[in-house]
Symmetry: D2
Subunit: 166 residues, 4 copies
């Protein structure tokens, strides 16, 4: 189990939302992911690259193509992607064909990382572990579970991700 370095791609989403008093609104800001990894005392080799800074409802086909390209062209085979939760499964679909042989785990948060109470740290930890341990493929780590990225949906009303079984 010699782990290669992990690449973390940030794309925006609730996990990186902050509040701006001067605007009376929330916006996605410079990613707090490097700070989270430092707080978690991550000693494993990794690098963090910001791909974009968007609410996932605003992601276009072109945006997803850009994420896929970043995954494909990366030297790393173990990739964590932070992403808004509303269209996380759509991006997973796109990535499924993008880079066979790589282990890709998407994650995000229902509560911003800057909140005192948040699922951000736990979710990022799950994604880090899944990227190291799981076989090549696309996964989504949310709601305490590592899902097959092609067999999961967000139940927005219930505030959780659930497996699609059939």
């Amino acid at each position: 189990m010699t782990h290669q370095a992990i690449l973390v791609l940030t794309t925006g989403g609730t996990i990186d939302k902050s509040y701006f008093d001067a605007l009376s609104e929330y916006q996605i800001v410079e990613s707090g992911i490097p700070a989270l990894l430092a707080e978690a005392r991550v000693a494993l080799a990794h690098r963090v690259v910001e791909v974009m800074r968007k609410d996932s409802l605003e992601l276009t086909d072109q945006d997803r193509a850009e994420i896929a390209r970043a995954v494909r062209e990366a030297p790393e085979n173990r990739i964590v992607i932070t992403h808004g939760t509303d269209t996380m499964t759509e991006t997973a679909q796109v990535l499924a064909q993008a880079a066979p042989g790589k282990t890709i785990c998407l994650t995000g948060a229902l509560s911003p990382a800057r909140f005192a109470e948040t699922d951000a740290h736990f979710n990022l930890g799950m994604a880090f572990a899944a990227a190291q341990v799981a076989r090549p493929g696309v996964y989504i780590a949310m709601s305490g579970e590592v899902f097959d990225g092609l067999k999961v949906r967000k139940d927005r009303a219930a505030g959780k991700f659930v497996a699609i079984t059939q």
Copy 2:
């Protein structure tokens, strides 16, 4: 990837240390793990059982036998154990023979979960994912990495876990 329920065994350690003003000292207290899992919005079926409440430097052979028995007798095959970091690797050795066929991941924290800045949430997330995704065996999730539980040591001076390579 249909996941069975996860069993979380708590044994104490820094992750559950709090501070008592009336004593001017820190003590291990009632486990904060259930609160962490709620904050992380874990929807995956799980139960949390307190096995003991000890600093890992105080764990005896009998204590480790008790942890091993709890693992062996549990109906769950996917087990997370929160544990003090100083002798976490010794417990991993004991567990290696205890329950073949089960996936066991030990974790803990260098900074108490009750701190504003802590590795507790991230580490617990790693352990949750490893317990779901990894093949049967004993693992240690610390310092951002999922280690083979038999090939890792704590570098106390450096404040991190490192793989034993050879």
Copy 3:
């Protein structure tokens, strides 16, 4: 310095904003002030009353009249009011005539109390102290300072309250 009980009136504002994933937006929610006072281990007699739950930009003349009435009719003479920051000074003007003989301190936050980093706790502490120690009148406690409530303005661009001097 025998202190009478303190009345805390909550009216909404950023201090009580939370984030709702299901709506992808922030809203003012059930006040977190009682939880903040418990965390601060406040042993001084007090009660907390929610007057309204509004962004201060939405407050009407009628709303301010209602706040003034709550102040006037309260048995307590020492009153803390949590309030959105954008029109806090307007409410201070209204209260200046409302209840001579009472010590009233308005406060709020530039960053929601639910954030890991926030000015909410410190500001609430300032207001609690000012309500106990200051002579009757209307005060605003923000930006580390206890201001005369009639001689202060919010510098929105600079993100702080500043005294009006002349």
Copy 4:
């Protein structure tokens, strides 16, 4: 109410305790007070000076004389002192004679400032306000109350400060 600058003297105590994994113990560390003031967005002129870094049970007569000298020789008339809670009232007694004409407010915390849940921010806010608003004298701001520094005791069992009435 033109406020002069505030001097914050730090002396140690629980408020500045951190945890050291390498030692398996808690120690008082470099003061976190400047970070707390930044988080609270304090715009009022102030400076922070570390006088010592001690548990208050270890403070000697000489230490208290040193604190008194720092108060007396400071150009500021409004002084906040962070201090361990166990002997905070003894230091208040010493300071009562030290600097007539100055407003001095001692504060501290029952739970370290580095904890996710702590009274540190609120207490520091109270002390900041009391130093600005109160008449010259020595005060203690703890448990949600600004006490006359000569008429208060710590009820260690109850975990709070209470006024001495008679």
